[in-house]
Point group: C2
Chain length 440, copies 2
């Protein structure tokens, strides 16, 4: 990637007609993305609100029909976060209905997410009226709880939400960096001391969330953010030729399938988390490295040359993964890839990244959108056929799709804003100017 | 099914040329099955033995290459059981190598399977040299441990194996019928008191295993066997129109996806477990009911009319399941179906069941066999394309395929033995005579 930027910077600046073409393409995508965000939000507004108990139904069939009333805590937290974020950042979503639904979801979480208050461990899934069904021995329910509470504080200004967010964040950091025994995982002598990339990724995302509008908290979590970034970077293995999902505690490759496991969509998501971190830090070397290792590398290895789309799982030695769904095409790696490539382009100006954004976005809109009933299908076969017709389920809710569309709409708007009409030719053509504000 | 048998019994007896045709077809299948069993056993003998630590590698690639050296306890126990069974029942497998490998696997289990001896809880997966990596909060590792130890006792006569088997069986029965707290599952107020069909199925299989050659144990477990059968039968719901994987403790339908979940291959496997139970009991009403509800019903709903093969999971309301692999075709439901239909035919003489055996066996041999490297592929797409090229993995070992082939070889042999050359015509043609011995 470093070289790609170099090449671009040495190019003769684009003639005005190319600039017009670029503006047109960006404008067309901005309109597609904007309309799609409206349709997707409408789907969730219409079908997912539980007026009786608060919170959201997320098990929704193709046409939005509720096929199960379970409440998955990840998805409750994510939908609260998404609604608040839309309310806060997009004037057209600043409606009482959006805010009230987010608040009702937040209150549902406050009342029911914790399994044994005042203990902070949250359930993974609850009954419709909030009784715990299952607890995961991980930090993720708690992370989405924190994101929800922090956003609720930002839109309402009510301190109790922020107290919840910060208190839960402290607990999560303690589990991750001090003592994981409270999560309830048994220590078995044969289990390797391994780190899943999901953990530092999720934490880095929380550092970003909590510190974004709060200089004091940003300072509090600055060292944590660096630690997360360093831990994520340890997942680049094999002389920089592979991102591995699981590595040893001291940053080495683990043996067997666990060690060889790859998840291209996850690497791309980590990529944009890291890119935001590098931009905040003002670290150009890290930005170039992230684009190279977490955007271009996973795309090159993870894109299916025969049918298009990103594989769900891969084995770093090219062996057959043991997960039955390894070759399926899931919606979320594609929404993460759209964010990552557009952010990479906004930051670097490298047209390679813009073309990758177009390539992924074309595939994604063509294959995942449901023009008939709205929202996206989540699960396609390798060949791109719809394998599951559900629009929501235990892991798919109101999150990846609208987050992607909202972020892309913002980034496309910022890129268009930077394309001044008929700029005077010069060595730094506008597209090559790093645009940090676009990645916010 | 009752009506199908009735119809057959009223038919004019088959003319001699039809009998010849039937004999030819059965003979051809017996030869195919016999040769395939040889190839399959050769694959495991060649690739799976860990000469250094004992036990078996089961993570084997298409050509038998070990791609991970983890030892899954289910699969260790199953391979020991399979080797002993082959050694005991088939003269051509009565070799020192088969016996020694089974014993080495048994010793590996004795030394390493239990997580904290003398406690009986077994690990789910071990390192190559036997350190525990993961424990499941279920009874299944212990069940396969019991099957292995009982078969080892039968082939070696060493009492210590049988003591292990009976001691573990007592523990399993205690967990299932008295107090499950030793399994370590938390009791959460929202979790419905549900029963997975796997539990009484597995227990019924153990009752069969332990009682088969031991009248005293058969007596000890007689009440347990009846209890298991009754519990399995509770999974027939909706006025007899659906077998549901999970029901409430008192035998009612559960709400949501959990309640609607169906697994046609599992129902068929339960079918032949129940059929053996009904034959042991000499209960003709139960035999007919089992064939109707656990053989014909799951096949009718579970067979893919477009591409052939049994779906892995279904929803009783015809909604889309939430499991990504629901429409894939897995090897084991097909091997279970082959056993079930051939056993059903051997017992009832209903030609419908023989034709279903042929239909499933043709599909299975065509789609799952690997003529190049031996053994079967385990995981196909809905359309029948190989999705995973592995021959063994965390859940596929030396068990379902050879068990199916061995049982079919025995049943086909018994059926051919009953087809006396040119029988005198009469109202009870030979194929309609229930042949209990064929199901042993």
């Amino acid at each position: 990637m470093g070289r790609a930027v170099e090449k671009l910077r040495l190019q003769v600046p684009s003639p005005p007609q190319d600039m017009d073409k670029e503006r047109e393409a960006l404008q067309a995508w901005k309109e597609r993305v904007e309309q799609e965000l409206d349709r997707v939000v409408a789907f969730w507004m219409e079908h997912s609100h539980d007026q009786e108990h608060g919170g959201f139904f997320t098990c929704l069939g193709r046409d939005g029909q509720v096929y199960d009333d379970l409440k998955y805590v990840w998805l409750q937290g994510r939908q609260v976060w998404m609604y608040c974020r839309l309310y806060r950042k997009f004037e057209r979503f600043r409606s009482p209905e959006v805010l009230d639904s987010a608040k009702a979801g937040g209150e549902f979480l406050l009342r029911f997410a914790r399994v044994a208050p005042p203990g902070k461990k949250c359930a993974f899934v609850l009954t419709r009226d909030g009784l715990p069904i299952k607890v995961q021995r991980t930090i993720f329910s708690e992370c989405f709880y924190t994101m929800a509470m922090n956003e609720l504080w930002r839109v309402t200004g009510e301190a109790r939400y922020q107290n919840e967010a910060v208190g839960m964040m402290d607990q999560i950091v303690y589990w991750v960096r001090e003592d994981p025994s409270g999560l309830g995982r048994p220590c078995l002598p044969g289990a390797p001391a391994s780190e899943s990339m999901a953990v530092p990724m999720m934490l880095l995302n929380l550092v970003d969330q909590l510190g974004e509008a709060d200089e004091e908290l940003a300072g509090t979590y600055a060292e944590l953010g660096d630690w997360c970034a360093q831990r994520i970077l340890q997942h680049v293995q094999r002389d920089g030729q592979a991102v591995l999902e699981n590595v040893s505690e001291d940053g080495g490759e683990l043996s067997g399938c666990l060690g060889r496991h790859q998840n291209p969509g996850h690497a791309l998501e980590a990529g944009w988390f890291l890119l935001r971190h590098a931009i905040r830090k003002g670290d150009p070397e890290l930005r170039a490295r992230v684009i190279d290792k977490f955007l271009l590398l996973p795309f090159r290895s993870g894109w299916d040359p025969d049918h298009g789309g990103l594989f769900y799982f891969q084995d770093a030695d090219g062996l057959c993964p043991t997960q039955l769904e390894w070759a399926m095409k899931l919606w979320w790696p594609h929404s993460e890839a759209m964010i990552a490539f557009l952010m990479g382009y906004s930051d670097s100006g490298d047209p390679t990244l813009l073309h990758l954004f177009y390539q992924v976005a074309e595939y994604t809109f063509r294959q995942f959108r449901d023009p008939e009933h709205g929202e996206w299908f989540g699960y396609l076969t390798r060949e791109g056929k719809v394998a599951l017709t559900i629009k929501g389920g235990p892991f798919k809710g109101c999150f990846h799709v609208p987050r992607c569309l909202a972020m892309c709409e913002e980034m496309l708007g910022a890129l268009l804003g930077r394309l001044a009409p008929a700029p005077s030719p010069g060595p730094d053509c506008p597209a090559a100017v790093p645009a940090r504000q676009a990645a916010k």
